[in-house]
């Protein structure tokens, strides 16, 4: 009798134990799920700012950081989860609702024995990185062994970004702005049939298509050297992307006055309708996909390229960036905030390709970037909670060397200049710490060259050498790893 009670008691106890342990497991799983965080990071930048290379290097270095052997530091020592050794695992995967960012093909190009930079982006794509780590905070440590931060990063052609301000403009306003710009120094020299269109003429699809092509040619001429301008609207004309309905793109700036009556069926009337359709069917959906639901952003700026291209291109890039970034304001002035409920916490403005200058110029590069991004009153185009300026290079192509040259001690860059094929030393000059003055432009203070990416065969397992990528990462997402 007593034995049976004992048995029952035992069974009871073991049942209770089992229940307790399964409850504990469930609680842990629940905590793990509750602590899992997901965030979308936008990488914003005009074309040629280096978004694709940046993303490739970032993903690759992150991926390898969790696979370092004991005693290896890797290339992200300033990213806390890597430095503290708490990063357990990083998995990369494409996003569910978007084309996959061509990470592996891009990486293969960089890791090739004769490496090349990946080609520029032609369409919208994204990639996710799930970073599993051991929490170090007092609370997190008690609740779970490991938890995950999922970072989704989106890449898109920089040209598309330029269309953002158009959402707020009417056809007449936009036309007036574009025509004013097209008469400015430099652009005025580009001829094109679109300049001679009569708004009142009857519209045919052929005429509209001819106008689109002629305007696209004009935009292309603006962007290519020798002009190398950035503010080319609509940017989509230069980078169509897949499955775009060309009929929506059949418009160009016309000299029409706002409020004036237009003849139905005339070119002006049809183009206005196409303009609205373009905004509605192409620009808006793009922004809804890309810029909804993210709260952190890298803004990449090719300051070096702009300096190299001369004063006109420099000012034009500044205009383009400021116009675009105005839309990201958090208050009601920023229409993305109004339209899509967009709120941004943290923005990192980064001058890319900073391996084109010597390391002692990084400070000036940051100051110059700051000067480029602020308006005359010293305001940033987007007032976020936290913002920071950085000199960045996703792939470090050069080495700094201190040498004696013509009796002076200077720091020079050593690397393989594109199309030269051999290691050379270069003195790139000085970056002005303020917006360059006319004298700065005239007096040849700087000269930058594009470099060949370095051969990475030697440290394949360690990742891609870079400049300040880890600090950028730490600033933007480091606070999530508690």
């Amino acid at each position: 009798m007593s034995r049976t009670t004992d048995d029952t008691g035992q069974t009871f106890l073991s049942l209770a134990n089992r229940a307790a342990s399964s409850i504990e497991a469930a609680a842990r799983a629940l905590a793990e799920r509750a602590l899992r965080r997901k965030l979308r990071v936008a990488v914003t930048g005009l074309s040629r700012a280096g978004k694709t290379v940046f993303l490739t290097a970032l993903l690759h270095n992150l991926h390898l950081a969790a696979r370092l052997k004991e005693g290896q530091t890797g290339h992200l020592p300033f990213f806390d989860p890597v430095a503290k050794g708490t990063l357990e695992d990083v998995t990369l995967r494409p996003l569910a609702d978007m084309a996959a960012f061509p990470f592996l093909p891009n990486l293969d190009r960089l890791l090739d024995p004769s490496p090349e930079f990946p080609p520029s982006t032609t369409g919208l794509s994204g990639f996710g990185a799930a970073l599993r780590y051991r929490p170090q905070g007092i609370i997190g440590r008690q609740l779970v062994d490991t938890t995950t931060v999922e970072v989704e990063i989106i890449d898109y052609p920089g040209e598309w970004l330029l269309d953002l301000p158009m959402l707020e403009q009417s056809f007449e306003e936009w036309s007036a702005a574009m025509l004013r710009l097209s008469h400015a120094d430099g652009r005025a020299s580009i001829k094109g049939a679109w300049r001679d269109i009569t708004p009142d003429a009857a519209a045919t699809e052929e005429a509209l298509e001819a106008a689109r092509q002629s305007y696209t040619q004009y935009l292309r001429a603006c962007r290519e050297p020798p002009l190398s301008l950035s503010f080319v609207q609509p940017g989509r004309f230069l980078r169509l992307g897949d499955e775009v309905d060309l009929t929506a793109l059949r418009f160009c700036p016309l000299s029409v006055t706002a409020g004036a009556a237009v003849k139905p069926g005339s070119i002006a009337a049809v183009m206005r309708e196409r303009f609205e359709r373009y905004k509605r069917e192409i620009v808006r959906p793009f922004y809804e996909t890309v810029f909804s639901g993210f709260d952190r952003q890298f803004v990449l700026v090719d300051v070096i390229g702009a300096l190299n291209a001369g004063p006109r291109a420099f000012e034009d890039m500044r205009l383009a960036l400021n116009t675009v970034l105005q839309s990201f304001r958090r208050d009601d002035e920023g229409f993305l905030a109004r339209l899509f409920g967009l709120r941004m916490d943290k923005v990192l403005f980064a001058a890319t390709k900073s391996d084109h200058v010597t390391a002692n110029q990084f400070h000036n590069l940051r100051l110059l970037l700051r000067a480029m991004m602020t308006d005359d009153a010293g305001r940033l185009p987007m007032n976020t909670i936290e913002s920071e300026f950085a000199a960045l290079s996703a792939v470090k192509c050069t080495a700094n060397r201190r040498v004696l040259y013509q009796g002076q001690q200077i720091t020079v860059l050593e690397g393989v200049i594109k199309e030269h094929g051999a290691v050379e030393q270069l003195f790139p000059g000085e970056i002005p710490e303020h917006l360059p003055t006319a004298e700065d432009w005239a007096s040849e203070r700087f000269r930058f060259y594009d470099f060949q990416p370095p051969s990475l065969e030697r440290d394949r397992g360690r990742g891609i050498p870079h400049i300040h990528l880890d600090k950028a990462l730490q600033f933007l997402i480091g606070d999530l790893f508690w």
Binding site: A83, A359, H363, A399, L404, Y449
Partner: protein, 333 residues
């Protein structure tokens, strides 16, 4: 950047530049194990100190007397027998050689300690210097000092690997903190915790009052040695004494508010312990004192000063090392 003629930006024809060695850290295959401490120590000119002069002259007088006496004694022996004289000379000579070796070793270690001090002062300046690239020579000194023990040397290798030519001085220092000093700090705290626990146990179980004082003294000195070793100093008796002296000087001059707060907190912890048992409380006090001494040793031996938010916390250290001694539920926070 340059005071002279401005150099025109562009490609420099090959062969027109001369590299300046050592300006930027170049990875070397392995670090030199031996440090030329004398090269590191830069000694300022000082006035004559009469106390030292007195000590030195007295020591010289005594040494002279001993040498003369020994000479006479040896001469005496030689007169008696050649063999006896030769054996005595050999004995005396070996004593002399050992003495010279001993003093030399102690002196070298003292110099090393002093150079560590110089390095720390320089390091403090460099930690403020963003955007400059002047500190690479200093970094080499720092690395040489820290690779004094195998663990430190491995970490330094890792550091050299992670440091890029694009990191400015402040970043280089920050990286050094992250990669090299954090693990070393942990090891040093471990030594302090062990010592605190040992002295606490020793003091609480010792039957006679005098013995616990001896235990504390012996264990504390051993702890200081261990801490110094962690940071690559090679402590011998004399340099440990110098270190302890400096620790006490610092302790008297720099009883900062947070130390007071820490000690207060530790006392509160002690009061809780006091409720448990008088003897145990004594032990805990001894442990707290040792831990505090340990932290002073860490601050003296660490090649870079602590960043403000990284400063070690006495209370936490005490809780970690002595917590297990107290009955559950009555541990100090």
């Amino acid at each position: 950047m340059n005071d002279g003629m401005r150099i025109k930006p562009g490609i420099l024809p090959s062969g027109t530049t001369t590299p300046i060695p050592g300006a930027i850290v170049e990875p070397t295959p392995s670090l030199p194990a031996v440090v030329e401490s004398a090269a590191l120590a830069t000694r300022p000119r000082r006035r004559i100190r009469w106390g030292i002069a007195l000590g030195v002259s007295a020591a010289l007088a005594i040494a002279g007397a001993i040498v003369i006496d020994a000479g006479l004694w040896l001469g005496d022996l030689f007169e008696r027998s050649l063999w006896l004289g030769a054996a005595a000379t050999a004995l005396f000579g070996s004593v002399l050689a050992a003495l010279v070796g001993f003093v030399g070793g102690e002196y070298r270690n003292l110099l090393r300690l002093r150079s560590a001090q110089t390095i720390r002062e320089q390091g403090h300046l460099l930690m403020q210097a963003g955007g400059s690239f002047e500190g690479r020579g200093f970094m080499n000194d720092l690395l040489r000092l820290t690779s004094g023990n195998p663990a430190g040397r491995a970490l330094c290798e890792q550091y050299r690997d992670a440091l890029a030519d694009t990191h400015d001085d402040r970043e280089a220092m920050e990286l050094f903190e992250r990669i090299v000093l954090r693990p070393l700090d942990e090891a040093a705290y471990g030594a302090v915790r062990r010592a605190a626990r040992d002295t606490a146990i020793g003091a609480s179980v010792s039957p006679v009052a005098g013995i616990d004082a001896l235990i504390v003294l012996w264990r504390s000195l051993r702890m200081v040695r261990e801490v110094a070793q962690v940071y690559g100093l090679r402590p011998t008796r004399l340099s440990v004494l110098a270190l302890v002296r400096r620790m006490f000087v610092t302790a008297t001059f720099a009883v900062t508010a947070d130390v007071v707060g820490d000690v207060l907190g530790a006392h509160l912890g002690g009061r809780v312990a006091g409720l448990v048992s008088g003897k145990l409380a004594e032990g805990v006090y001894a442990g707290v004192r040792t831990a505090r001494l340990g932290l002073l040793a860490v601050e003296q031996c660490r090649p870079l000063p602590f960043a403000d938010d990284d400063r070690p916390n006495l209370r936490q250290l005490v809780a970690q090392s002595l917590g297990s001694l107290l009955p559950a539920g009555e541990r100090s926070p």
